[in-house]
Symmetry: C2
Subunit: 554 residues, 2 copies
């Protein structure tokens, strides 16, 4: 392939048209680099599903070409799919110290050994195949997040990762503006940029703003303070600890993931925890109310989380009492609004004062809003622009922002997962598609639950099931036992005797008709039963349970 013919292919296997399971493959000739390997929590209609991961058929089929997985930061939607990927492909992983610290814990949990984890630092270069890979600092809602610039023979591909332009980050690690400017000046061929907040006008407030609010609140509170946030938001937790320290309060960390995150972050040097400030949850009651801050999981109202258990007076160590102030330092992830609201209500019922309103300034987003996105676009001025990390409307809004800054629409690609964006020095286009989609993880099964199973779960969840069993004599198809009827999730059986009796009668009728018509194929008999019974049940109850006829033969 002559160099004028060569192309870069950019293929997102996740993160386009969705928030979650971010994963982008970048291919040049026989070399593939993958950025991130995230998972996604299932939408409501994916009944019974635990997590969703990207379809990586493309990577598995090109196993020997995949040279590295690069991680931007340690959030689940960027690293949560890694264990599943690494079971299929043996490939080295690159990321920051904290990111890999988090990943190590995950791999251990899932008993995956021997993974080649390579710590990289901002402004470090790594040569991988034909790529020179450069990492740079960005701010986000987890420490040690990085963007990635991939220097390819055709030009620079720049991926922001998740990013906000926090001018006063808690750890002082400001976005590497000068690097972005330098790359922009050199000329960036393709920019892939975070679209999560592309429909939010203005600027995202600095994390420090939340620290100021904490200072106000802690200064005024006379009782215990119980604060919940995302377990990975280490800077938020740091700010709680620092403010607690200022006001002479001890801090108890509660909830498994919160404890783990603080432990890892502290061990790796990402936190600054004053000597003696942390106490165990068992010790909370040894202190006066105004000497305590509890930092806990449960910011999304998760039913089994520590905060939910406190709210339902079901937590072993922390019972809510009047005088407690609970601070919800997080906003609900879309879909969790009602769970969070329910938790707030329960906390109020326990007598707590609860600070949860957006207007209270106890939370800021980790993603850049429109004005920040414009700054990024203007700094970098890429030849081609691919908005990533967002539902379709976010990608579209981001595309429109770019257009409003003068980037021609024809050079902006609002793409779908799996689409191959083929980029040359002078032109770029969608050039086909690879397999992509949602792989559903349910229990131990990865990808074995599909539409049929989900459709059945849906029907079962709405109107339940009616099972009809009949035992017949093989030779003469005479009914020797039944019909018996068992239902679940359809009606309250003890008050529905007549309905069940009538249903049996309908089954007998259906079988009589078949007998008279000399129909002996089971499938036809079953259909008869289903139809006759279904009609009857709908007339009587207005419901359409799944009807499952089972014929036993002796």
């Amino acid at each position: 392939m002559s160099e004028t013919d060569s192309r870069i292919q950019i293929i997102s296997l996740g993160g386009l048209g969705e928030i979650g399971k971010n994963m982008t493959a970048i291919r040049y000739e026989d070399n593939i680099i993958v950025i991130d390997a995230g998972l996604m929590f299932p939408e409501e209609e994916l009944l019974g599903i635990d997590v969703v991961i990207p379809d990586i058929t493309y990577l598995v089929e090109n196993k020997e070409k995949v040279k590295a997985i690069l991680l931007t930061h340690g959030h689940e939607d960027h690293v949560g799919g890694l264990p599943y990927v690494l079971r299929e492909i043996d490939v080295p992983v690159y990321g920051s110290k904290l990111t890999l610290g988090i990943v190590e814990g995950k791999l251990k949990e899932q008993s995956i050994d021997g993974v080649r984890l390579n710590v990289v630092r901002p402004r470090e270069f790594r040569k991988i195949g034909p790529f020179d890979i450069e990492f740079f600092r960005v701010s986000h809602s987890i420490p040690d997040a990085m963007g990635i610039a991939i220097h390819t023979p055709l030009g620079i591909i720049l991926h922001t990762g998740d990013i906000k332009l926090d001018q006063t980050p808690v750890d002082g690690e400001v976005v590497d503006f000068r690097k972005l400017a330098e790359l922009g000046e050199k000329g960036v061929l393709v920019l892939l940029s975070d679209s999560t907040n592309a429909d939010k006008p203005g600027f995202t407030m600095s994390e420090k703003v939340v620290g100021n609010t904490f200072d106000d609140l802690f200064g005024r509170c006379e009782g215990r303070i119980i604060l919940t946030t995302f377990a990975s938001n280490v800077h938020r937790i740091q700010q709680v600890i620092s403010t607690a320290n200022k006001y002479g309060r001890k801090v108890a960390i509660v909830g498994r993931s919160m404890v783990n995150n603080v432990k890892i972050s502290n061990e790796l040097g990402y936190m600054n925890i004053p000597e003696g400030i942390l106490i165990e949850q068992e010790e909370i009651n040894h202190y006066a109310a105004n000497q305590i801050v509890v930092v806990t999981t449960g910011s999304q109202g998760e039913p089994m989380s520590a905060l939910t258990r406190m709210a339902t007076a079901d937590h072993r160590w922390v019972g809510i009492v009047p005088g407690d102030t609970v601070i919800i330092s997080a906003s609900p992830v879309p879909g969790n609004e009602k769970l969070v609201a329910k938790t707030v209500d329960l906390l109020f019922r326990q007598g707590a004062e609860v600070i949860y309103e957006k207007s209270m300034g106890v939370h800021v987003s980790g993603h850049a809003s429109q004005e920040e996105l414009k700054i990024l676009l203007n700094l970098i001025r890429p030849r081609y622009f691919i908005p990533v990390h967002g539902e379709y409307r976010h990608l579209m809004k981001h595309a429109k922002l770019a257009e409003s800054l003068g980037i021609p629409r024809a050079r902006i690609f609002v793409a779908d997962n799996g689409q191959i964006i083929e980029v040359g020095r002078k032109k770029a286009s969608i050039a086909g598609e690879v397999a992509s989609g949602k792989i559903l993880v349910d229990g131990l099964g990865v990808g074995d639950v599909g539409n049929i199973v989900l459709r059945d779960r849906k029907q079962l969840s709405q109107d339940g099931i009616m099972i009809v069993v009949v035992t017949i004599q093989k030779e003469n198809t005479e009914v020797v036992a039944g019909p018996d009827i068992v239902t679940r999730g359809f009606v309250y059986v003890r008050e529905s005797e007549q309905l069940i009796e009538d249903a049996k009668e309908r089954v007998r009728e259906a079988m009589d008709i078949c007998a008279r018509k000399r129909i002996t194929e089971w499938a036809v008999i079953k259909t008869q039963i289903r139809e006759r019974l279904g009609k009857h049940l709908f007339e009587k109850t207005g419901r359409r349970p799944m009807i499952l006829p089972i014929i036993m033969e002796i």
Copy 2:
């Protein structure tokens, strides 16, 4: 009972600790007046449930004492439960012209005849038993809404209904401030006031503000405009029609409930529709893009609604084309956020420009925010205050607002549905409780689906069901057919043959064990099967389907 002993009892059967199914009973001696009879749409965990209505056992048991149902306005959460109530209790209904117009339609749909509907107008009095009942104008997101003052022998009970203090309502019908002041001056014994937005700081913007936004948008749009809002928001629809008229566009109303509401409101004189501006949906394509506004149902992303069908290119008359502007003039009701977002994404994918962001000013709430609530409280200065219409946190916030204005905490009742708030001239207290709760409507069944059925639906929805059937000989419990296994919603059967075979083997083992131990009780055998099989399936799949052993006897 001497007058000094007499008490008023105020009992909410719905609307406390929840948004929806509003209903409050006010009792004096043997006279009960009911304010509103709403329904509620089921929360997600109420699988398969269609609507939720209040438990009216208390009213049914005191049937002969119930003198009237008074309606504040025509929203579902205030009138939607009426048909169910009227099937149990024959009682006259009072409400404004539009409210009763909407109710009439509902009663007709449900074939309920002979209801005594009494139209009342603002500032009208009705004497019902010992009560003098006075209706007064309030603004809300539906026209002809009223608050109610009940003059009792002990003092005035004032119920705001749903209210906002819109200073520039579309129909010019401003909240009757002078009446509120007059009542306050006379002395209000108990105020019941709308808490829906009690956690929102500031003022709720006027409905007119949305009209101004429409004017801006319509002035700039060159393609078709497709706008969705709540079907009952007649003033919103009026503003669309007026703006369309200004810019020389025709208006097509699409979606059954939208068509019905416009029809009723127009017939009853609540709209001002310029001659010839309305066209049928079939005619839309007879006009140029810039001559068309479509007003449609579907603002909540409801799967079967007109807008959703447009978004999925499945609507008979309206297909979305590039150049169309879709305006989502509503905010998602909590729980509908993801459905709305999905619809917006689909519309973008069809090529539309979609205006959905809060910051665009295309929607305002119909409920008073904190500053308005304070004005109401200061105008009325009730002796006792009962925040109503809100989840627990809203009631608490409203209570705190009242406290901040100097109303003593002991005179504020943050109550639960069913609690009897007993009020005398000089004191008030919670004095017991009546039956209350959620009555679930599923198909034709009212109240027959309870926890057992719901728990089964939940389990079925998560991991499906495995049915095990065995036919045995009565005399010797010998297995003559089976075990047969059927599953639904558990695994993809065609790829799980081994799993099913192994499961059968586990069932045989369980039965062998029982045989050896001479266990013959079916219940014990079934438990054996369930446990053995359950353990096996969890080990193999990480899932816990419902296991349903059925033993047939011949």
